[in-house]
């Protein structure tokens, strides 16, 4: 099986008048269909830059990124991107927020709208569809933001520290929710985080980046003896501690 996403020899630098900052150096990796890849690395190492490159918001200076074996620009709408904050618009109702993507791409077909309604029902937001975002809890807002991304039915989902703005308790719950939703909708996902526990609790594989300029230190396969654990249960599994120590050591050796 060919991988869904192939990244080969990608380099990227930021340019300012005072000089050039190398952000990413020679990254090569791939993501399979249905896989959950988590990227960890020290803060400021270029994780978000990498996601912007993968989405095609900014073109890579060197190297190639291919989705289903063709260049990125042919796939703009096939990739969903979830930002750090939910950015739900207060001047729209929850429903009009989640269909924003469909509205922008003029894809408000009956099937797509029915899919959105079904997701709102499945993920406990249907009763709030005519409310304003400010009436939702932090976790509900994040779910709404995820539904907004999933409404466009992307084949690849990019998540840029989507839980970092939440308090710890909400964070653990939303982590379970989002994981369940992504698995239920059978999406391939790449999540960026600096929280190692979060990474281990959700990932099929963890990609460890070094500090800037970021290169790949290691790609670690995460295997739990019970395959159907939800993130919260994984945190209590015996393997968890070992993976944590392993990634911790790797980060410190290269940090």
């Amino acid at each position: 099986m060919t991988p869904l996403l192939e990244v080969s020899h990608v380099c990227h630098a930021y340019h300012t008048l005072s000089g050039e900052t190398q952000a990413l150096s020679d990254l090569t990796f791939s993501v399979d269909e249905g896989e959950f890849l988590v990227i960890v690395g020290p803060s400021g190492c270029g994780k978000s830059t990498l996601l912007s490159l993968l989405f095609g918001l900014i073109p890579a200076e060197e190297g190639t990124i291919r989705l289903r074996q063709s260049p990125l620009d042919e796939h703009q709408t096939k990739i969903g991107y979830m930002l750090q904050k939910d950015h739900l618009f207060e001047w729209r109702t929850v429903y009009r927020n989640v269909i924003l993507g469909l509205e922008i791409q003029k894809k408000e077909t009956p099937e797509n709208l029915a899919h959105v309604e079904q997701m709102l029902k499945d993920y406990g937001l249907f009763a709030f569809k005519d409310s304003r975002p400010s009436e939702l809890s932090g976790g509900m807002r994040q779910r709404a933001a995820l539904i907004r991304t999933l409404a466009l039915d992307p084949s690849l989902l990019l998540l840029d520290e989507p839980f970092s703005a939440l308090d710890y308790q909400t964070r653990l719950n939303v982590c379970d929710d989002v994981y369940a939703i992504i698995k239920k909708e059978k999406k391939t996902a790449i999540l960026v985080t600096h929280d190692l526990s979060e990474a281990i609790s959700m990932a099929d594989r963890v990609l460890i980046l070094s500090k800037r300029p970021a290169r790949i230190c290691r790609i670690l396969e995460i295997r739990f003896s019970d395959k159907n654990l939800i993130p919260m249960q994984r945190r209590q599994a015996p393997e968890f501690k070992n993976y944590f120590n392993e990634i911790w050591k790797e980060l410190n050796a290269n940090g």
């Binding site: 918001l57 709408t77 991107y81 618009f89 001047w91 924003l100 922008i104 791409q105 304003r132 466009l152």
Partner: protein, 269 residues
């Protein structure tokens, strides 16, 4: 809220709040009433020269006089019409210009110093030039009204557009939106509160500009009435015109205010 029984301390708080409001409203009215009384009495007892300072009674008389031949309505109507028209044009022009500036960073970089210079220029200095260019007519007055407000309005509106949260703009891009959709879905809705306060400032500025224009280039309107009255020393007319201007300024501001309430309620900003 009305489902729960209100506690006595809450009721006390609400009562105090209302009482304060009523007190302020009453004292405002009382202040106004006392001012009118004092003005009238000092004029009647010759403490002040009623020829120069007029008096509430004389103003009322003037209004009644001028109502008979409808001239007061004509002057007020003309000033109102010119102010509203220049206000609408200011909003239209500054919205379009701000949009263009927002779309093109280069254009805005080129134009910014010019806008700042034009904005700091005393606009009353332009009025004589406008008369030469456009003639002594309504067109000149409307352009004079616009000239006072338009440059500041463009700058404020462009600043409001530019201050839009970059992350919200990025969101639209991640949903595959174009720059036009960024403008429609994020930039304009999130700038709406600033746009309303720009409206509030500009309605007053347009009135200032229209009066300046009428001083110089009109045969009708409150500005003309003021100049005419001062030249023939009919200060009753002048003060009447000033009072009507106060009422117009207040009324126009109230209209924008209620527009703001309406928008805030329907869009829950």
């Amino acid at each position: 809220m009305d489902k729960n029984p209100i506690s006595s301390s809450q009721a006390e708080y609400v009562r105090n709040h209302r009482r304060h409001h009523h007190l302020v409203a009453f004292l405002r009215f009382l202040f106004f009433f006392l001012f009118l009384m004092l003005w009238e009495i000092s004029a009647d007892l010759n403490w002040i020269d009623a020829f120069i300072f007029s008096s509430p009674g004389r103003v009322l008389g003037t209004i009644l006089d001028m109502s008979k031949d409808c001239s007061i309505f004509r002057h007020t109507g003309i000033t109102l019409y010119e102010t509203l028209l220049s206000f609408l044009l200011v909003i239209l022009v500054s919205f379009l210009t701000a949009t263009i500036l927002w779309f093109s960073g280069t254009v805005s970089e080129i134009l910014e110093p010019w806008l700042v210079i034009l904005n700091s220029l005393p606009k009353s200095a332009l009025a004589p030039l406008l008369i030469v260019w456009l003639g002594a007519n309504t067109r000149t007055i409307i352009v004079a009204g616009m000239s006072v407000a338009v440059f500041g309005s463009i700058i404020s509106m462009y600043t409001a557009f530019k201050d839009t949260d970059e992350e919200k703009i990025k969101l639209i891009h991640t949903l595959g939106g174009s720059r036009l959709q960024v403008l429609r879905c994020v930039v304009i809705p999130s700038s709406l509160p600033s746009i309303i306060s720009i409206l509030k400032v500009n309605i007053g500025l347009c009135l200032v500009g229209v009066i300046i224009g009428e001083f110089l280039a009109a045969r009708e309107g409150l500005g003309y009435l003021i100049i005419y009255a001062s030249q023939i020393f009919k200060l009753n007319y002048l003060i009447t015109a000033l009072i009507i201007l106060c009422i117009i300024a207040f009324g126009l501001y109230q209209i924008i205010q209620s527009l703001e309430h309406h928008i805030r309620k329907t869009r829950s900003l």
